[in-house]
Symmetry: C2
Subunit: 177 residues, 2 copies
């Protein structure tokens, strides 16, 4: 039972441009059509928890990309389009309560996605493992992966791989020391 982050960021810590743009991720050279470890990661995940902003971004994609149930953290959304039935649903409440309900429903390993959502989990020290892929670009501005949180959190470095001689992907686990 753990909460995971799997995300790409620029060297200056942005996950999207200020307007939410992620085209810069499509500029990553990928001649081998690598999935950069995503399928291995997602195969271990039971459900995805994301914020409304990320969810609305996902809805602009040509197709639904998630092989696991998505829970959209939102206290404002009332309902989702019926074509998302069985794929995504809204979940409300405080974070500890939400995790507890999901775990009890059998969703043990959660993929936590979106800057604000990740930050709110970190504020409660509820992120267990992070796989962060660093793209060698300075975006200059945008939406940050991490924000100000009122605590220091130590992680253990688990492994680092260079992908495509371009990306640096590191796995960190929350330190129990």
């Amino acid at each position: 039972m753990a909460n995971y982050v799997f995300i790409a960021e620029s060297l200056d810590g942005f996950i999207a441009t200020a307007s939410g743009g992620i085209n810069w991720l499509n500029e990553i050279p990928n001649p081998d059509k690598s999935d950069f470890g995503y399928n291995k990661f997602i195969s271990n995940i039971d459900a995805i928890v994301m914020g409304r902003i990320s969810f609305e971004k996902v809805l602009t994609f040509d197709e639904w990309i998630y092989p696991k149930p998505v829970f959209v953290l939102s206290n404002t959304l009332e309902f989702l389009n019926e074509n998302l039935s069985g794929k995504a649903e809204i979940i409300k409440g405080d974070i500890r309560n939400i995790i507890s309900r999901l775990n009890q429903a059998g969703y043990k390993n959660l993929y936590i996605d979106g800057g604000k959502t990740i930050q709110s989990f970190l504020r409660e020290n509820l992120i267990d493992e992070m796989i962060i892929t660093r793209v060698p670009v300075l975006l200059g501005s945008g939406i940050t992966l991490f924000g100000n949180i009122d605590r220091k959190i130590n992680f253990d470095h688990i492994r680092t791989e260079v992908l495509n001689n371009h990306l640096v992907q590191s796995c960190y686990k929350k330190s129990i020391k």
Copy 2:
């Protein structure tokens, strides 16, 4: 002739706490007394350019740590203590002019240090190579390595090493593509 960055940052992109504290760097486990590549790096450097804030931090250290001349970028400082004679001097002006003067004086490879100074060089696209060492901690707040700059800058990934099974040190060169 190139301008280099060699710096450690937290996972959330901070180089110091909000009050300039760097004790968190002393918490890095280092049983082998590694210099984490610093001596190799500095041996290739002709001079160090740093901002006033970093300089004032350096002055709090027990001893003068730099084996190469230090130029303190400041338009407000008027003079330095005489015990720094031959070690550090103040340099004023705009960045391109400063680099040009240093290069002409024989200082070809410059180590650019301090958050604000690095950011001002990046705004002019004048950083050629960055060696960034990521420490597996979220500080939560502090002084950022990178700030908002009004441009996107692509880098090439040159190499990554894991040091002490704890730090991830990556070298990036400004992309000419």
